[in-house]
């Protein structure tokens, strides 16, 4: 067949408005907290007021007797294992004998009105017998056991070569030791959802979460239900950032609807979200990096200790990813990277955008900065001469499958205005300001790591009305990946986004995996491209019906066969079936450890300027230059959105945000004292320079950038603050009090 290529619609690489923009601008989009059915019961949960205690009794009678209360449920009412968890099912849906963190669920109440449910919660009497609280990860392993196998959640030990011998031959040894903050996701819509029994008798949940299949599997096991008796929907929600991977409102909603047969609704209060929602892991990290006199890196010795909190969830994966990336994108002659995650009573830590890399970047990038100072090299040159290349062994013990994309990015950053004008900018600073410039260069794998990435399946079809239909299992958490999928599908079918209907985030649809790990454009996007290409072939083949010597062309709404236009609707009605089921699974390298290495890596260079106020200790980021590699840009506006949004969360991580625990109690469970950056905290100037070095494992060429936009910020800010006042900080975030102490020479 001959297909002409004239007038092909170009969508990939162009900024397209989000398909959900209109509904959201009008306030009409129904979020998980908005779409409750008439007659839905209001759900509330009685939560532990203790960080670690034996549960002696739960007295529910007074609550049950309240008018308007439909049910009060405790662990004895859970029909299944009463256990859930993303990797191992270790979390009780409702506590039985022990509570292991403040805010853990003890009883569920459903009532005719929210006020009644809240009042009933107050009537439930919980009797505790206090147990020793494990508040310090440093001593957790010798403390009372939270789980049968003790308090070591997971360990990692990676490396190659003889580190001791290598260190003995080094001219420069740089040590960096620090503790990072627990970061809260701070999605504007807290955990929320609704549940009901559908017309087929199936339990249905519509919840803000990141993978309807993971949700369904955990609900089924915890409640002893067959998976096909459950449908989970993850509609577009008010943000997630990793914080809605773990089950949240799911099991309380499911239990209430199963028990009462009625629809139910549940939205966490903000305090409840801050208390019982997961956090970014606090890490305690020690780096010792050695180099020769020319600044060539020789040895890397890194130790990581992560506070997992009370349950396992994704801690082993976060620890592994931190260890994998701990060396930065550099090559060494020997390495030793060790780490552990330990159980404590400090809430629960799990996934958060960045997934271990914001923590380690702070160490390795400060070490590179220090090495530049000691050798007199520019911060760009010291990184450039140590970049790892294809075929070289990474510090984590795997062979790099491809060069980094960093050399050109470092060159561009070094020629950028911030670095070029730094001396003049510093000389212009007012007398109360110390001005500094920081640099970092980082890497971040995307897609799940080796052995873990199962790929994505998607559906594309053509319906009898001549419209296309795209189904993906991954929800759009708010980032806009659905719009990017439609651009990919529409370009491959030479049509418009408007000619698509779509479904995302439904366990009745194809399993495309989770919206996490910067994987959706890379994994799901490639599956969508394949499916659209296959459907295009089928449509054209059908139109040709085996004829030769004719030209055939697919237009937005027609097939043109030797000049004759046939409506897509007619083609669809004539075809026996149009549904294409396609998958994409990247070729995974051989694993050297749980999830290590990744099939592909993203790269980022960041240069930023700070003003440090010597009277208040406040740090203001004034200018930012981002240099990033998308592999291939699908939607430039979407890339910009990730750059700016990721930066804002990274800025909070660097300077403001910390969930503070004392004796296992959260001290700041409110957005009034957990500080999220506002518009006034953001730098007035930010530029994003996009490189497009295609990833050879990705047919579309795309790389994932959702997380790496956040990951360098704390490291770059730390280097800039050091440039301004000459201090490296051992505690993050870098708070004004610590800056003032540093300026005044107090430890």
């Amino acid at each position: 067949m001959m297909e002409t290529a004239k007038d092909r619609l170009r969508l990939i690489g162009t900024s397209r408005q989000r398909v959900d923009a209109l509904a959201k601008a009008k306030g009409e989009h129904l979020f998980p907290s908005d779409n409750a059915m008439q007659n839905a019961l209001w759900v509330r949960v009685v939560r532990s007021a203790r960080a670690h205690a034996r549960l002696i009794g739960v007295e529910t009678r007074a609550a049950e007797e309240m008018e308007g209360v439909a049910c009060v449920l405790t662990a004895a009412d859970v029909p299944g294992t009463n256990r859930y968890g993303l990797v191992i099912a270790d979390q009780p849906a409702l506590c039985e004998d022990v509570v292991r963190y403040e805010g853990e669920a003890i009883a569920i109440i459903a009532a005719e009105a929210d006020e009644i449910a809240r009042a009933a919660c107050e009537k439930v009497e919980v009797l505790y017998e206090d147990l020793p609280v494990i508040a310090d990860a440093a001593t957790a392993e010798s403390a009372i056991s939270l789980h049968p196998d003790g308090n070591t959640c997971s360990t990692v030990a990676l490396g190659f070569g003889d580190v001791a011998a290598s260190e003995a031959s080094c001219d420069h040894m740089v040590e960096v030791a620090y503790t990072t903050n627990r970061q809260e996701h701070g999605f504007l819509e807290t955990e929320a959802g609704t549940s009901w029994i559908d017309e087929t008798g199936r339990l249905t949940l519509s919840v803000g979460a990141q993978n309807p299949f993971n949700d369904r599997r955990q609900i089924a096991a915890a409640l002893n239900l067959a998976e096909d008796k459950i449908r989970v929907l993850n509609p577009m929600m008010g943000g997630a950032f990793g914080g809605k991977e773990d089950c949240n409102v799911h099991i309380p909603l499911a239990l209430v609807t199963i028990r009462t047969g009625r629809p139910a609704r549940f939205m966490y209060d903000r305090r409840e979200s801050l208390l019982s929602g997961v956090k970014r892991h606090e890490f305690n990290i020690a780096y010792r990096i050695g180099a020769d006199s020319t600044g060539k890196l020789k040895s890397a010795k890194v130790n990581l200790r992560a506070d997992a909190g009370a349950y396992a969830t994704l801690s082993a994966a976060v620890l592994a990813q931190a260890a994998e990336h701990a060396s930065g994108p550099y090559v060494y002659e020997a390495s030793e990277i060790t780490g552990k995650a330990v159980y404590t009573n400090n809430g629960i830590a799990s996934a958060y955008r960045g997934f271990g890399i914001p923590q380690t970047s702070i160490g390795v990038e400060q070490a590179m900065d220090e090495l530049a100072r000691r050798t007199g090299l520019s911060p760009f040159e010291v990184r450039r001469r140590n970049l790892i290349h294809e075929g070289e062994m990474a510090a984590a013990g795997f062979i790099m499958a491809a060069d980094t994309a960093l050399a050109a990015m470092l060159d561009a950053a070094e020629s950028g205005p911030l670095w070029g004008d730094r001396q003049e900018a510093k000389s212009r600073a007012p007398s109360w300001v110390r001005r500094g410039i920081g640099v970092s260069a980082i890497w971040q794998g995307y897609g799940l790591g080796s052995g873990l990435e199962k790929g994505a399946t998607v559906h594309v079809s053509l319906n009898d009305a001549g419209r296309y239909h795209l189904e993906v299992g991954t929800p759009d958490l708010g980032a806009g990946n659905l719009t990017a999928f439609l651009q990919i599908a529409a370009e491959n079918l030479n049509t418009t986004i408007e000619n698509f209907e779509y479904v995302a985030g439904d366990s009745l649809g194809p399993n495309s995996g989770s919206s996490h790990a910067s994987r959706t454009i890379y994994i799901v996007g490639n599956a969508v491209a394949r499916a659209a290409q296959e459907l295009r072939v089928r449509i054209l083949d059908h139109a040709l019906a085996g004829r030769d010597n004719v030209t055939v062309e697919l237009e937005a709404h027609h097939v043109v066969l030797s000049g004759a236009r046939i409506a897509l609707a007619d083609i669809a009605r004539d075809m026996a079936g149009t549904k294409v089921v396609e998958s994409f699974v990247p070729v995974s390298p051989k694993p050297v450890h749980f999830g290590i290495p990744h099939a592909g890596y993203s790269y980022w260079v960041q240069v930023l300027g700070v003003d440090v106020d010597i009277h208040t200790g406040e740090v203001a980021v004034t200018d930012v230059e981002n240099y990033l590699d998308t592999g291939r840009t699908i939607n430039p506006d979407g890339v910009r959105a990730q750059c700016e949004g990721g930066f804002a969360q990274g800025l909070g991580y660097a300077l403001y945000e910390n969930s503070i625990y004392t004796d296992g109690r959260l001290r700041n469970p409110s957005l009034a004292n957990y500080i999220i950056p506002s518009v006034k905290d953001m730098p007035p100037r930010m530029t994003n320079t996009i490189f497009e070095t295609p990833d050879h494992t990705s047919p579309l060429g795309v790389r994932g950038i959702a997380e790496i936009s956040l990951s360098p910020v704390a490291a770059t800010v730390a280097n800039a603050v050091h440039d301004a006042i000459g201090t490296r900080f051992s505690q993050f975030p870098i708070l004004p009090e610590a800056v003032l102490n540093a300026i005044h020479g107090e430890a």
Binding site: G186, L188, G239, A641, A672, S678, V679
Partner: protein, 158 residues
């Protein structure tokens, strides 16, 4: 808890209701009037997701009681545009990356509308000041500031 009869104008329509005196305005709008464009975010007046206009001034409805708006005129995001016609701010938020997940969007739109009604040609710093009572966790704010500035500039032709 005693009730109170209130009568008010919401998005141009007259509303009469009997509310408990401790009924939050945000709950009244969302659950009694089904105006779910007004969002719950923090319940403490920090995040601004519940912002509405009361007699033209931006107010956080999670810190207000329904009983307090008796006799007042309210605008929620559902009433921001004219029928069948978007408000310029809505179009501008869509065009300039002013929204991602969209949960904070109604509050930002109303805060911006309040600003432009008082100061049709704000400086950048004035835009940032006016929006500093609203939190967004997705966009990094630059798209929101751009969206507001573009409306001001297109109205003023500068």
């Amino acid at each position: 808890m005693s009730g109170k009869r209130i009568s008010l104008i919401v998005n141009g329509e007259s509303v009469k209701a009997e509310v408990l005196v401790n009924r939050l305005l945000s709950d009244f709008l969302r659950d009694d009037l089904a105006l779910t464009g007004t969002k719950r975010g923090c319940e403490t007046g920090v995040c601004g997701a519940c912002s509405v206009l009361v007699d033209g001034d931006v107010v956080k409805s999670c810190l207000s009681l329904a009983a307090q708006v008796d006799g007042k005129t309210l605008t929620t995001v559902e009433g921001l545009g004219r029928i069948g016609d978007l408000h310029p701010l809505q179009e501008s938020f869509m065009a300039h990356g002013g929204l991602q997940c969209g949960y904070c969007t109604p509050g930002f739109l109303l805060a911006a509308a309040d600003l432009l009604s008082r100061n049709p040609d704000p400086q950048d710093a004035e835009i940032r000041e006016a929006l500093s009572g609203n939190l967004c966790r997705c966009t990094g704010y630059q798209g929101i500031v751009d969206a507001v500035r573009n409306v001001a500039e297109s109205t003023h032709g500068n």
